[in-house]
Amino acid sequence: VLELILISTLNGVLFGMLLFLMASGLTLIFSMMGVLNFAHASFYMLGAFFGFQISRYAGFWAALLLAPPLVGTIGALVERYGLRNVHRHGHVAELLFTFGLAFVIEEIVQMVWGKAPVDYRVPASLDFTAFTVFSTNYPAYKLFMLLISIAIFIVLLGVLTRTRVGLIIQAALTRPNMVAMLGHNVPRVFMLVFGCGCALAAVAGVIAGPALVTQSNMAGLLGPILFVVIVVGGLGSLSGAFVASLLIGLVQTFAVSANGSLADLFAAFGVTPDPASVFSDLWNVTIAQIAPIIPYLMLVLILALRPAGLFGTRDT
């Protein structure tokens, strides 16, 4: 059991850090521009596929260096020539634009790479066992993923709190109009943040691609969970996004490895529900089976009980 807890904690923190790589960009974009970027997970997917394609020709390290700026540029172009034009039609139009974009990116990925998973492998230089806990071998690649995401987290924190650009971004988070009035080129800051956010998502894609499955539905699987993260953490709150990422990462990993159902719980009290009833499914569902639902349950609960999120300050 101790082994399970240790491994699950490591995996949970890893998944949480990956989520945070994406959620940080998403929440920055949302709080500055008021746009909920539906296509954010699609940029993560683009990162993974670009990484796959580049690593076939130039190796994994080149992919890690090249794919994020490439995806970031695409993101910036989308902001400049797409989103900015849609902006005058209002927020609903912006949301719909990113929704359509997510749809189109998924289709384009299918058009180019097909629907089946591509063979994106862990690089040979990282394909060994880092350490062994009890009897489980922990792969070095996962440790590498963890280190990369922590490094990016620290850099991000540094940029946001110690540099001039970071201060402007922070200011624009809460008072975008005031920042514009002080003479900063807010549209350009927007484009920059949008591009960087997409690049961060792409980093997550490049490093997560070999560990998870690189397939055209990976954006659709992860996208909604990202929304859960930023809503639960509180929209516009970076620290909230961090806590919520870790929380959801841990909850998800622990739930998957846990067993047990309501029937077991009732059996412990000596009650056996009628197996033929309509609700028998409900009794026999294990925790591992409901793992995919847990984030959405959290989302609905948070929005019903504390709409501002765990750390949020604004009420939308």
Binding site: L96, F103, V104, M111, D281, L303, A304
Partner: protein, 434 residues
């Protein structure tokens, strides 16, 4: 003096003094069209498509009660459609088993009530706020229901879904609904009833309050209405009609599976309503017809039809936020002032140039698809009746020339179109043709 003029305008715009034919003519035409269509489209596939269009019209209109009327962007409308469908299927099976004398045409009502019930439950959590918060909760709820549908197997039937047999219900007037034609008339009947009902709702004071909540919830609150309550009622009504649409779909296909409540279905109805135009009542109807047609026809022609679908949606969001109906309505005043014909020439030029760009883009997409995803099947392909090799440079050169040349033409023609447009509208303002 000015007051009487104002009331006259209000009365005229509310249609109070319009003669019968002008007021109800369009509805009569719609009814006649729906009755008459099967006489022109006799083949089975055409009837199936018409049935699908009828279902989609109800579904898209119910969606527009949220997005268009009350300004609530929902990403999970298929939840009510799908649950309505499931309840109808289970009700049908239960009725067949117990041999109750319930005729098939009444069953969509079961779906409506189911949709309404779940809309009451989910609406009480989600309608407290509008805007982005509502959109996200709707997405969360949709994911919740979609994931649950895979877990609760005895109700949702797992992968293979739940099947039923519509011909085994109690028969009224000896209709057994075995043929697609009878099912079409059932769907058409419900479609007309729902359209009239939903149109009537937009004309009630409640419908107007929905519009007010969409425009400015804060002011609505100031004058003493609760925006939450208005949103909630709109949400429930919309869930009711979505449930009816789902019930009709269950009757039409005789099988319901988890994809009915899925995000894909929610996305389709959003696309249909928005492409049609959300700011006019008729918009979602046009959108539903077009989207269903494209879904059926495009999927025969190309395997990546959804990409074209998505590109079309983005084009509408970017360039024509009013949708099809918005574009048509822009020209209504010109038609009335009889200056529309002046635009015909420039429009023909523009659509010619746009068609060249479109053909170039289609070529680009199909070439890429053939070379990348379909690499295993070889590079030979056939489009527009011409066979060629996707790996040779010729089609790529043709594609580049088409796109670049077409784009250049569009740029050249655009000023002509805007000039003609402003001339035509200026003539309208001046009071008809000179």
């Amino acid at each position: 003096m000015s007051q009487t003029a104002e009331t006259a305008v209000i009365k005229a715009s509310a249609g109070m003094r319009l003669p019968f034919l002008r007021r109800y003519g369009i509805w009569l035409a719609a009814v006649l069209l729906m009755i008459g269509l099967p006489f022109f489209a006799r083949s089975g596939s055409a009837l199936t498509m018409l049935s699908l269009m009828g279902i989609m019209i109800i579904f898209a209109l119910s969606y527009n009660m949220l997005l268009g009327q009350a300004g609530m962007l929902s990403f999970g409308h298929a939840v009510y459609y799908g649950l309505g469908a499931f309840f109808v299927v289970h009700a049908m099976n239960a009725i067949i088993r117990a041999k109750y004398p319930v005729p098939l045409p009444a069953l969509p009502l079961v779906g409506g009530v189911a949709g309404l019930g779940f809309a009451v439950i989910f609406g009480s959590v989600s309608t407290r706020r509008g805007g982005t918060a509502f959109a996200m909760i709707s997405l969360g709820l949709a994911e919740l229901v979609a994931s649950s549908s895979l877990i609760l197997r005895s109700f949702f039937g797992g992968e293979e879904g739940i099947t039923t047999n519509r011909t085994r219900l109690y028969r009224l007037f000896d209709w057994n609904f075995g043929s697609q034609l009878q099912v079409y008339y059932l769907i058409a009947g419900w479609c007309i009833v729902c359209m009239v009902a939903m149109y009537a709702i937009t004309r009630t004071p409640f419908g107007r309050m929905c519009n007010a909540v969409r425009e400015n919830p804060e002011r609505v609150e100031f004058i003493g209405y609760s925006p939450t309550m208005v949103r909630f009622i709109a949400f429930c009504l919309s869930g009711f009609f979505a449930g009816i649409a789902g019930g009709l779909a269950a009757i039409n296909f005789e099988i319901v599976n988890a994809s009915y409540v899925g995000l894909q279905q929610s996305g389709t109805v959003l696309l249909a309503a928005y492409i049609g135009g959300i700011s006019h009542f008729v918009g979602p109807v046009l959108g539903a017809i077009l989207v269903t047609y494209l879904q059926v026809m495009l999927s025969d022609v190309t395997e990546i039809w959804q990409l074209y679908f998505g590109l079309m949606f983005i084009a509408v969001v970017m360039f024509a936020p009013g949708g099809l109906a918005g574009l048509l309505m822009m020209h209504a005043s010109l038609l009335r002032a009889r200056t529309l014909h002046r635009l015909a020439g420039p429009y023909a030029l523009l659509s010619g140039a746009a068609a060249i760009v479109a053909i170039g883009l289609i070529l680009l997409i199909e070439l890429t698809y053939r070379l990348m995803a379909k690499a295993a099947d070889g590079s030979a392909m056939r489009m527009f009746g011409v066979s060629f090799d996707a790996a040779s440079p010729v089609p790529w050169i043709v594609m580049t020339v088409l796109i670049a040349g077409g784009a250049l033409l569009v740029r050249l023609i655009w000023p002509v179109v805007t000039q003609a447009w402003s001339d035509a509208t200026a003539a309208v303002r001046a009071g008809g043709p000179p």
